[in-house]
């Protein structure tokens, strides 16, 4: 079924709205004191009157509905409020960290799928050979290792024992613009992000390709004299592309989530650590924005995934079929 672009945008906006309501309500209903995040230890020594005044100043004394409407009003005009913890405009705080996450998550995402595709093709091409078997076994093992544990082990080996690579942060102190410093800091987290997701997708691609190889058209392609390699690339890989891209889009949340966990363990100054902090310290405005960004990425991923696979697979284009059918009857 083809969905019009207008309808897609509507679905997108509706999803974002629902998400914002949910996050807003949940964060405020969760037990804990938001004042602690703003005033720190001082909040505990405040008298009830002082606390009331502080709540009023932060705009937290009103009913949740009123708060939400106010938040939406400000958000639409571009003001997402102030971070309680950093006492700074939320967007300012995020700005500095977004790039770090984009580098880790974005490159990790692309690298994961590029390697998954190559590995999947390699395994499918050499189906049941020793190479395929070894890759399958090793892959299954690596995909079962939890990210946080793998991170810790890698830190232990490469930064604590061998002292080869840094185990935390995104760059050495004062070297935020040094590419080599950023790269060395990126290696371990990137390895974890890629390793923990790679096989899951590579295996999917391998099996999709094996299904494809067993199709009759492959036999005909062989009968007309094509080599296995050409059939693989020009027919089979091409035919699994829609599925591949759908998988990519659907898996966006998994990789995002993986990135967040990895950021936590490596104290990588990205959105993941920030999200964790903001949830922990009831930094409402910060949490809202971060959840929305993450949510938008995920929803956007799903919607574009569908749009792209429709564009690639000719069978999904309904109007064209009608056109040709009309042509044929002429």
């Amino acid at each position: 079924m083809k969905i019009s672009y207008r309808r897609r945008i509507l679905i997108f906006l509706l999803s974002v709205f629902c998400l914002s309501v949910l996050v807003f309500a949940m964060s405020r209903l969760a037990p804990g004191d938001p004042l602690v995040s703003y005033y720190g230890d001082r909040a505990e020594r405040m008298s009830p009157e002082e606390k009331d005044r502080a709540m009023e100043r932060l705009g937290l004394n009103e009913s949740m509905v009123v708060q939400y409407v106010k938040w939406v009003k400000n958000a639409v005009s571009g003001d997402f409020g102030m971070s309680f913890k950093y006492k700074q405009d939320v967007m300012k705080v995020i700005e500095g960290r977004l790039v770090n996450t984009l580098i880790l998550g974005g490159v990790g995402f692309i690298l994961t799928f590029l390697l998954a595709l190559l590995l999947g093709i390699l395994c499918a091409f050499h189906e049941n050979s020793w190479l395929d078997r070894i890759i399958c076994k090793v892959g299954t093992i690596t995909s079962c290792i939890p990210e946080f544990w793998l991170s810790l082990v890698l830190i232990l080996i490469f930064s604590v024992n061998l002292r080869l690579l840094p185990g935390s942060g995104a760059y050495a102190l004062g070297q935020s613009s040094s590419i080599s410093s950023r790269l060395t800091h990126l290696i371990l987290p990137m390895v974890v992000v890629v390793m923990s997701h790679l096989w899951y997708y590579a295996y999917m691609i391998r099996n999709k390709l094996l299904e494809e190889i067993r199709q009759d058209y492959v036999l005909l392609a062989k009968a007309k004299g094509m080599s296995r390699r050409r059939i693989m690339y020009q027919h089979c890989v091409r035919n699994i592309m829609p599925a591949f891209i759908s998988i990519m889009a659907i898996s966006l949340p998994h990789i995002v989530e993986g990135t967040y966990i990895v950021e936590m363990v490596f104290s990588y100054p990205g959105i993941g650590t920030l999200s964790f902090e903001s949830a922990k310290y009831h930094d409402y405005n910060m949490l809202m924005v971060l959840c929305l960004i993450t949510g938008i990425v995920v929803i956007f991923g799903n919607i574009t995934g569908q749009a792209i696979s429709e564009a690639i697979d000719p069978r999904m284009k309904e109007p064209e079929i009608m056109e040709v059918a009309a042509d044929g009857s002429r």
């Binding site: 392609a221 009968a223 027919h235 035919n239 000719p314 040709v324 044929g328």
Partner: protein, 343 residues
Amino acid sequence: MNKQYALEINNLSVSFFTADGETEAVRDVSLSLRQGEVLALVGESGCGKSVFCKAIMGLLSKDARIKSGEILKDDRDIRTLSEREMQLLRGSGISMIFQDPLTSLNPTMTIGRQIAEAVKLHNRELNRQQIKAKVLELLELVGIPDAESRYDSYPYHFSGGMRQRCVMAIALAADPQILIADEPTTALDVTIQAEILNLLKEIQKKRNMSILFVTHDLGVVAKIADRVAVMYAGKIVEYGMAEEIFYDARHPYTWGLLSALPYYARAKGELQAIPGFPPHLTPPPKGDAFAVRNPYAMEIDYEEMPPFFPVSETHFAATWLLDEHAPEVVSPFREISKRRCGA
């Protein structure tokens, strides 16, 4: 080697090696395809016809292996060819079309591109326009009207019969001397079947091609074949000119197949079926594999495999009934055949 043969297969045996043991799918088959003839290979499902074809094309799956025998084309055993040489041979020397036209085309690629691919593989010197011209020519050859506008159509735009024509266009793209047609009309309905058969025959005459036509349908065989070979349980049991097989069959299995034809059944009053099932070939039974289903079976059939007995210069049958010690058995078709021949 005799020049009149386009393809000569001697003592070919193919086995599948599976967890259950060795399955002898093709057993010691010798068969020759003459230049410019249509040879029909007939047998019921699972008798090894398709495996035989795939063995010739070098397209056996990994668990299958040619155990012995030779496949001679132009004085060369194609079993000794490298994979690269095999690829050159496929399509240009020997081409093949398959049973199900609905699945044998890549659904996401236009018909034109799929045929062009085959043309390009064997005519590297052609440029884009020349390739397209050749594709259009092929589409016209296989009787697809309005070829120009069909070039960019996808397989799902076509009906089954049209798709089989496209598959034929692909198979004929590099002017093969030999075409192996593995049940090309089985998946089509009867009227389309006749069209495709006529087309195949017409192209075969036009290009003086040799066709190995595999089918389980003797009605189809009658329409197209010059010679017929009957296969049972991985072995050829009888072969001869089409008339000899239809009017003077000697093997009880061929009789069984013929009596399942409505034409002959009319004379007998009811449609006959061969009782029982084909044997398992893991391992094959001792003696004649057909013995257990054969009403004319003798003791020796259970003990020893019958050799080929000549019936005429072109007609051979592997049944002990033709041995000089065997009792006289009259073919159940003698009468009908005589009547038919006299008429």
